[in-house]
Every structure is written in structure tokens, then in C-alpha cells.
Amino acid sequence: MPPYCLRPDVRAAYLSSELVGVERAGLVLRLPEPITRAVLAGDPRFLVGPLGMWLAQAGLAYHADRRLTGSDLIDRNQVFADALCPGPANPCAPGLARHRFIVLGCGGLGSNAAIALAALGAQEFVVVDGDVIEFSNLNRLIWATSSDVGKSKAFALAAHLAQRYGVSAVPLSTRVSARSSSQILREATAGTLASTWVVTMDESEGARQAVRILHGLPAVAYVHAGYVGARITVGPYAATSEDPCPFCDSAGWRFSSPQFVAPSAAPNNLIAASMVAAQLLRVARLGPTGTFLKAQRWEFDLKSGAAKTSPLTSSGCEVCSP
């Protein structure tokens, strides 16, 4: 066994398509390609002597006798989160504190919308999701770290909201299906705070059911966001039963771009989550007329990168015309 081991977060560095060396934490070591490949493959012959020692001093390798701990690894999500939100939020939007935000679906859209609301000053949350965090989720759950893998999304998000923003967050690790959404919604509406809903689960029947129920409740606010075909849609804010739901209209788009599967990527999710939070902030401060999403929906076309708002129509909508 060589005295040094390459750290597991050392990555291959490419310039165009050429393998030019290795990288860790912003430090790039340029090497001839055969040596780079040998080093990345863990060839023990290159992890000894002055070269091994230099790699260790530069932070690319560690002594084999030393047990590597989690804190030795560069957690890019943690670095990003620390830079973005260095401490508990200072409530700056008091209107948000009068609302309890119930987030149905804690994936890339819902969790980031909740974090944006918490950072703006929201104080109470109920977060609902039946899934657990997988490694493949970490590219879009930018608040989660590798230590959260295997944990309930709802519980991990609630812990993050409580720890970083000092808010009250109640987790419900329940799959929001068409069957369960009715019960969840009715139980969660009990209480003194106004309940405002963020519907962002990826199970379309559950979303449809949730929106249908919310749409029928008087003076209940909700915003619905999700990927539909090649687009992300956000809208509407529905304070009154006159607002039609966009979901069924949106469903038609599923078949408009059958060859295109929209990637659930962090930048796309953050744009949509920002739109959700911005509209709910405006509503909290100005009332239902404060949002331009009343009777409109916002569409972000992932093919062209263009975003626009368009009026809602109730034609063919199962919510408005069941």
C-alpha cells in the first residue's frame, strides 16, 4: 500500500475535450495525459516519494494512515449555501410572518421556494414529501449535502429550515397522491395563521387533486409550479374562486413536445422558485392584487430560454369546468 491516497473529491480536469490534469477545490495540477490517467486510476507507483508528498501538501492526497473524515472533503453544496446565506435570516418582509406556508413536494422546486420564503422572513412551514434524498438529487437540492442521502426529503428540509433560518418547520413524510392530498390539505388548514400553499410535487394526479381542492376553498392562496413538457409553469395565485387553474391547460403541453424531456436542473428550478417566492411576497405585503399571476400564468420555455406571462382561460380546465 502506498503511503498516500488520492482524495475522493479529486476530479479529472478537461480543456475542451483534452484531459489536462486533476483538480480539487479550485487547484488544478496539469500533467501529461498518461500520468493523469494513472493518478486518477490510483496507480500506487505515483503516490510515493516526493510526488506523493507534494500531492498531499497540495491537498490532493492524504496519508494512508490517516482516517479521512467528512470534514476533509470539499462539500460544494455546503460552500455554496454558506456563501448564499451566512446565517439566520433577518426577517425583512413582515407580511410573510402572518402566513403558514404549506409546501407539497420538497424537490428542486418546492424546497428552493421554501428556502427563498424563509430567507425573506416567513416563519412557519409545513413541508410534505414522501421521498428520500438520493445522490442523484444533490445537483438540484442545493441545500442538501451528501450526509443527507437516505434521509426523508421533508425531514431534511425541515431541519435545514429550522437550523439555518430559525423558522418552525413541521415535516410530513407522506407521499402526496390524489388519495392523500385531500386529507393532508384539510388537516393542515386548521390553525390561526392563513395557510398559503405551494404545490410543487411531481406526481401529477396528486397535484391536480390538491389544486382542485384548494381552488374550491374560499380566500385560500396557492401557487402551483411544475415542469410540463418543455416548460416550467408558475401560477396562478388564487385568492378567489374566480381564478381558473392552469394545470389542466398545462397538461395539454405534455404532448406538444414529445421528444423533449426537460432536465430538472438547479438553475431552472431556482428561476421558478424565485418566481414563486416573489409572487407570494408581493401577496403577503400587498394582498391578492399584488401579484401579476392572478389570472395569468408564467411560462419559462426551456428550449428557447424565453419567459412570458399569458392570460389563463378556463376552457377545457377540469378544475374550473369539472
Binding site: 475522493p8 473529491d9 483538480e23 488544478v28 486510476a41
Partner: protein, 66 residues
């Protein structure tokens, strides 16, 4: 997940380009006899001292990760 996370096919970083991105310096490392032999196997020539360019990426715009 592969057993060796560094192995080819694993995580990579793509450099935006050599001109705008980085500041660097060259480090010369004396190779051991075994390393010189190994390098001779890999590249077909005898090298006893390895000159490596070491670069600090100045900001996130300098790289794209996947």
C-alpha cells in the same frame, strides 16, 4: 457509484480556457527510480524530473463542472 471515485468516467471539471482563467506556476518534482520506470512504460521516454503546471482557478466562471 464506482469503487474508485477518481477513476476515468467519474467527476470532471472543464476548464474554460487557458488565457483568461488562471494564475499558475511550475513545480518540479524529482521522480523515484520506480516512477521513472513507470513513466517510461507509459510515454516511451525516460523522465527523471516532472515539471507540473499548478493553477489556481480565480473564480467560478473559470470552470464548468458536471
Amino acid at each position: 457509484m464506482s469503487e474508485n471515485p477518481n477513476a476515468p468516467g467519474g467527476p470532471t471539471v472543464r476548464l474554460a480556457g487557458p488565457a483568461r482563467a488562471t494564475t499558475g506556476h511550475v513545480v518540479s518534482i524529482q521522480l523515484t527510480e520506480e516512477q521513472s520506470n513507470a513513466l517510461e512504460e507509459l510515454i516511451g521516454e525516460r523522465v527523471e524530473e516532472l515539471n507540473m503546471m499548478v493553477e489556481d482557478l480565480e473564480d467560478l466562471a473559470d470552470l464548468m463542472t458536471n
